[in-house]
Amino acid sequence: MSHTTAIKSKSVDEKTISNTTSPTGGGQQGARGRGEAISGSVAVLEAFLAEGVSTIFGYPGGAIMPIYDALYDYQEKLRHILVRHEQGGIHAAQGYARTSGDVGVVFATSGPGATNLVTGLADAMIDSTPLVCVTGQVFAHLLGTDAFQETDVINITTPVTKWNYQVTDATEIPAVMAKAFYIARSGRPGPVLIDITKNAQLQKFDYEGYTKCDHVRSYRPAPIVRKEYIAEAARLINEAEKPFVIFGQGVILGKAEKEFKNFIEKAGIPAAWTIMGLSALPSDHPLNVGMLGMHGNYGPNVLTNECDVLIAVGMRFDDRVTGRLDKYAKQAKVIHLDIDPAEVDKNVKTTVPVWGDCKETLPLLTALVEQKVYPSWLQKFKDMMKQEEDACITPELNPTTEQMTMGEVIKVLNELTGGDAVIVTDVGQHQMVACRYAKFTQSKSNVTSGGLGTMGFALPAAIGAKVGAPNRPVVAIIGDGGFQMTIQELGTIMQSEIDVKILILNNQFLGMVRQWQQLFHDKRYSFVDIASPDFVQVAKGYNIPGNSISKREELKKALTEMLNAKGAYLLEVMVGKENNVFPMVPQGCSVAEIRLK
């Protein structure tokens, strides 16, 4: 379409592209003034400083060398963490974004560097994580020539980015970076990728300073709040006898934890969370009735199909939460608070849509709802929790089996951390168990790959989580399978001295797949029997102390030692090989058909 627009009339000759050993030029760092000639690379770093970036996760390579050359002079102001694989870099940036609440920043080179970001982009896209990824690209004149390490990263990443853009001219960089940060963090956050050709990184131009972006004409970050819908929602809530709140990460992304708490406390409504919403409400809050979804708690699932008004806050009715849709909350009037209008009616038909940022809409709603309590309704959740305790929770947390369970490890961990730790999980059985049983006292404490289910997420994400929350203990809980997917990031932990505690729950299986094979495929264990190296030895090779235990008596001492270790530590806990996670809503079943065993 662009052939219809006039080409910017500038010739190549006007550009100052020097051919020196340090093409971006050395010299001072920081706060470049107006009218100064700077390189595109320096402009990228200046943008970072202006946006408050302090840490970059990255990996250098040919096409991003000018930026790395410029970074050499910015080391005092911008910390660069050299990862071992670009996927590790982007997961680390995700972890950073999730615990800090700010934008995570990634550098990768062209070609394989850029393609290695794709999994992380998809993960960040589906979990609404704000990222700005900068990839190097071959020289603009080489685009489309199958040049060395050229790949069409813009088109590869289009479906997995909120926005992406290719820069071929350095003069664009300040405005494009400003737009990138604005789009990544505003509205429903998401990943943005900026691909910069090498010539643009090298090209010098007259810098006119950095102006933050607060508006893009074609983009509305949050819909206009409609007061009449809020009034209608309040009316439904006030008339309800069995209202039920379900909430997701929107509460955390909207930084609306307090507003959310005020709302449920005034309205007296029991609230259950999706795994992305976990930690937005303290675990011990009297209205916190537990987890939704496939491996969620019994009460919240069953009572979803019994409530009369279902109030969804900042969640998207993922299929792992709803189970069979045509049997999901059919009896209830549904109020859906979401910043993304495309989420309303996407999966579940809404009675009243409350469009907008929940930080803004929740207080408006709170003002209109009556102060209430629902003792008998709340008691139902408690009764069902009791049933679940007898059937699933007690055997998991206080097992009588010889082998340890994942749940008892989490229980002891809770006792030792008091719920103050950031818990990073990978994907699979250990993830579900950790989300079910880990206790949290503060928000932004649960970091996991929710939507995409990316095995290998936890170890690198924990690195970023620690950088984003440097004063809090960070425990990465990982299965033996997922750990081996990004095990190379132990090198990053070693080199950058990241204080993460790695807790491997080893059941010597790809446990979740094995569980499904057991339950739904006649126990035909097809390629789930995974061998592992001696993890403690591997860690030792990276100068990370560790321990491996298999006896219950050793558990508390070993976890204490892990938590008290100075710096990183790896603890492997051998757990029962064929334990299953229950309750479970089998695929294709309604939430009310949740199985306790």
Binding site: M1, S2, T4, T5, A6, I7, K8, K10, S11, V12, D13, I17, S18, N19, F139, A140, H141, L142, L143, G144, I154, N155, T158, P159, K162, W163, N164, Y165, Q166, T168, D169, E172, I183, N199, L202, V216, R217, S218, Y219, D340, P341, A342, D345, K346
Partner: protein
């Protein structure tokens, strides 16, 4: 029931946007029957007209997802009843054949066709209309040695669109669009430093 929908999308004029829109359909394995993209009457704003066969429920959600894209201004979807639409078609036929055997005059009148080019060897007719009308003329010309045929994508005007033009004009006036920056280095490799 699946039916024909015309999706109208107003977007920024930016490189890569066609792909961003197109993958919204392909991701869901929806076939695009016809796609027209061209500048709207307001410079800097593009208009896509996309025809698909789908359930209304699906199209409704799809339009919201399209509108969510950063560089999309607005997405509408309409049934055929709600729009006025046309396609343009060109037919190339051998001149001698057609001159001898067909009453060209009748043909032109009956199908609202127009001769665009008349050469010794071939004649190009043009017609505008809806799918069926255009197809009818293909059938008529087929026996007379139709050499080549092409039809354009659908263009459609939404019946209930009062104020569209003024809104667009106002929008562009308030905040002029950014210029498209194309790759000015292609074919100029010799002039650029490389390593």
């Amino acid at each position: 029931m699946k039916q024909e929908f015309t999706v109208t999308v107003y977007t920024e004029n930016q490189i890569g946007l066609l792909n961003r829109i197109a993958i919204m359909f392909s991701r869901r394995k929806i076939n695009i029957e016809s796609l027209n993209t061209s500048p709207s009457e307001i410079e800097g704003i593009h208009r896509f007209t996309i025809v698909i066969n789908e359930l209304e429920e699906v199209v409704k959600k799809l339009a919201r997802q399209i509108e969510k894209q950063v560089e999309v201004l607005k997405a509408y979807y309409n049934t055929n009843d709600e729009i006025v639409w046309q396609e343009l078609a060109l037919y190339k036929v051998p001149t001698d054949e057609i001159a001898e055997k067909v009453k060209v005059e009748r043909l032109l009148r009956e199908y609202g066709a127009r001769a665009v080019v008349i050469r010794k060897d071939y004649t190009v007719f043009e017609t505008t209309g809806q799918r069926e009308e255009i197809n009818k003329l293909i059938a008529v010309l087929e026996p007379y040695g139709l050499i080549e045929f092409v039809r354009s994508a659908r263009v459609a005007i939404i019946k209930a669109s009062s104020g569209f033009h003024n809104k667009l004009k106002e929008f562009e006036k308030r905040e002029p669009s950014e210029e498209v920056i194309e790759n000015e280095y292609l074919g100029k490799g010799d002039e650029v430093f490389t390593m």
